[in-house]
């Protein structure tokens, strides 16, 4: 894995996600304590940190699966408020991939992709099917179109889940620990798909992940979360070779052994 890839990747200077002083409480527990983060179009941001540091909660506030209680989040010029139209507009621009896949078990792989385009974007079945098959080829499993999620391996399920998010043609993809629930031999097939998405399509991505090889190769920027705040951020080379903060150093030494 070479650093040169990360150095040559292009990201624009156009802001697409702007989070300002985002706070979130679960009951008494203050889980996000003032997050400021700006992501530009085409940028790949990797968020890492210990469990309970608020990283998953933060990316879930970006498409309003969690409501933030203070601060502002703006996605492509639309501010997330309680206005249901804004939420729908933002969600239609953001694709999300979950740790536990969350495929719909009663639908085939193909139906998993075509559901949202048909219901939300009102595609005809034929068009939705065509897009769905193209996506299945993209993630490398066209022969599994008519299988149910339970008949697929974990890696295949997660690739289907990525394709399902892509079927809505989003501008941004959020990945919430997409490889943590996978068996080790299946991790690379999922990372390859994600990498292709970043490098070939220039997709704007925020990934919560502990796959440091992936981060080093693909990320433009790495963000370290600890106890609900961003402790440190910077390009992968700087984070790996010269972390500024003591907590970052300690965490990295634990996961890189």
């Amino acid at each position: 894995m070479s650093d040169s890839v990360a150095e040559t990747k292009q990201a624009t200077n156009r802001e697409i996600i702007v989070a300002r002083d985002v706070h979130k409480w679960f009951g008494q527990l203050h889980v996000l304590r003032g997050i400021d983060l700006t992501v530009n179009v085409g940028e790949v941001v990797v968020i890492f940190g210990a469990s309970g540091s608020g990283k998953s909660t933060f990316i879930r506030t970006i498409n309003r699966l969690e409501e933030h209680q203070r601060g502002t989040i703006t996605v492509d010029g639309i501010e997330l408020t309680n206005d249901i139209r804004n939420i729908a507009a933002v969600r239609s621009e953001i694709g999300m991939v979950f740790q536990s896949f969350n495929l719909f078990p009663h639908l085939t792989a193909l139906q998993n992709f075509t559901l949202a385009p048909m219901r939300v974007r009102k595609y005809a079945r034929k068009d939705a099917d065509a897009v769905g098959m193209k996506l299945l080829e993209r993630v490398g499993i066209p022969e599994q179109a008519h299988k149910y999620p339970a008949q697929l391996s974990g890696g295949q399920q997660q690739r289907v889940a990525i394709a399902r998010a892509l079927a809505m043609n989003p501008k941004i993809m959020l990945f919430d620990e997409p490889t943590s629930a996978l068996d080790p031999e299946m991790i690379s097939e999922v990372l390859d798909v994600m990498r292709g998405l970043a490098e070939e399509q220039g997709m704007t991505m925020i990934c919560v992940t502990h796959e440091m090889g992936f981060a080093r190769a693909v990320a433009n920027r790495m963000v370290f979360f600890d106890e609900g705040v961003i402790v440190e951020e910077g390009p992968p080379r700087q984070i790996f070779e010269a972390p500024q903060q003591e907590r970052t150093k300690r965490f990295l030494s634990q996961i890189l052994h």
Binding site: A88, F98, P105, H106, R119, V120, A150, A161, A165
Partner: protein, 397 residues
């Protein structure tokens, strides 16, 4: 060191092996087997002897018309037959097109009507009745064969089923000003009334129950409180009470001049009662759906209603098939309670028949016959539910 290859233990496969393993595994087990076996044989001889020699089954066959349709006019009975011909043909076509669950429905319809034809053969109703019901039973299989070849689209069949419901109703009830003379519901009775009460109860209480279950989980407090209140209130009151209320109190609330007939009131009472139980079953199913499913649907931009219809309900309803079918089987049996508001459903018809002097001493025959009819209907429902579970379970968790 190489592992030793051992021969497998003696099998218990085959009838002899099964007997040895399960019934004669030791002296005590063998003794109990012989004892229970002897008791069963004795019972079978007693009951069989009575049923074939002493029982006066003529009480059933002589009164067959009343058992089947109550006081429905005999010269209009062809309308009942015709109203059964429609679902027979549709069930056959559907079974041919979809197979599985619909095939159970088709088999049941065919078998029940064949049984009716046989019973009619021993009754004073006449040969025309035998031919008519035998024709219906056969129509199921003819349309099954047609359905297998014709490849009728799902939508057309579903539409046909929907259209057939009002047609069936009009055929049975009649319509003023048409050649179909109206037949008042006070003349409906017997198996006809039992099946109609149960069918309407199931068809109405299911959607109502699903809505109540969703309402109970609603974010809107008014909807939630109303749904919860309804469910708790209805579940706290016996069906008999609700039937009384539907019969006596409901008319008082209706605007003046409105007349809701007695059977309709009973149907309403049964549906409203059953809906509360359906709601609680469905709520259990809704709770079994992981929150990740809803999150994934929301992240894709589906609205709340779309999420419920496409993601949550299909999974939740599948999970509660066994519970709901159990509920509908009790509903079918509970229709016997309409006796208390004076409706002549199957059981009450049996009591009316027993009231005739010529039926003296034939209680056992009448009640056994009624029990057998209920058993056939309930058993068919539970078989259909097993099929449905297996069909919907394909390739899923």
């Amino acid at each position: 060191m190489t592992a030793e290859t051992l021969t497998p233990p003696a099998t218990t496969i085959g009838p002899i092996g099964w007997l040895r393993a399960n019934l004669f595994s030791g002296p005590v087990s063998a003794f109990v087997t012989v004892l229970v076996g002897a008791a069963l044989v004795w019972l079978a001889i007693q009951v069989g002897g009575w049923a074939t020699a002493d029982a006066r089954w003529s009480v059933v066959t002589d009164n067959l018309r009343v058992f089947l349709i109550g006081r429905y006019p005999g010269d209009l009975a062809w309308r009942i037959w015709l109203s059964l011909a429609i679902p027979s043909v549709l069930a056959g076509l559907s079974a041919g097109a979809f197979g599985r669950t619909t095939r159970t429905l088709a088999v049941t319809l065919s078998a029940v009507q064949a049984l009716i034809a046989i019973l009619i053969a021993f009754s004073p109703i006449g040969i025309l009745g035998v031919v008519a019901y035998a024709a219906n039973a056969a129509a199921v299989w003819v349309s099954y064969a047609v359905g297998r070849r014709a490849r009728i689209p799902r939508r057309v069949l579903a539409g046909a089923w929907l259209v057939s419901l009002p047609i069936t109703f009009v055929l049975i009830a009649g319509f003023r000003g048409t050649p179909l003379t109206p037949v008042g519901t006070n003349e409906w009775g017997g198996l006809l009334l039992t099946v109609l009460l149960a069918a309407v109860g199931i068809v109405l209480s299911f959607p109502l129950g699903v809505l109540l279950a969703l309402g109970r989980r609603s974010r809107l407090p008014a909807v939630r409180i109303l749904s919860t209140g309804y469910i708790e209130l209805i579940r706290g009151v016996p069906l008999v009470t609700i039937l009384f209320m539907a019969d006596l109190i409901l008319p008082l609330f209706l605007p003046g001049g409105w007349q809701l007939d007695r059977v309709a009131r009973a149907m309403g009472g049964i549906s409203l009662f059953s809906a509360a139980y359906v709601a609680e079953n469905v709520r259990g199913g809704l709770q079994s759906i992981p929150s990740g499913q809803v999150e994934a649907a929301q992240a894709l931009g589906l609205s709340g209603v779309q999420t419920n219809i496409s993601i949550v309900l299909p999974q939740a309803l599948r999970a509660v098939i066994p519970a709901n079918v159990g509920l509908f089987i009790s509903l079918l049996k509970d229709t016997t309670l309409v006796t208390i508001i004076g409706l002549l459903e199957l059981l009450n018809v049996g009591r009316a028949v027993l009231g005739q002097p010529e039926s003296l001493g034939a209680r056992m025959e009448v009640y056994l016959f009624i029990a057998a009819v209920f058993f056939v209907l309930c058993y068919a429902m539970s078989q259909a539910s097993y099929r449905l579970e297996r069909q919907l379970g394909v390739g899923t968790r």
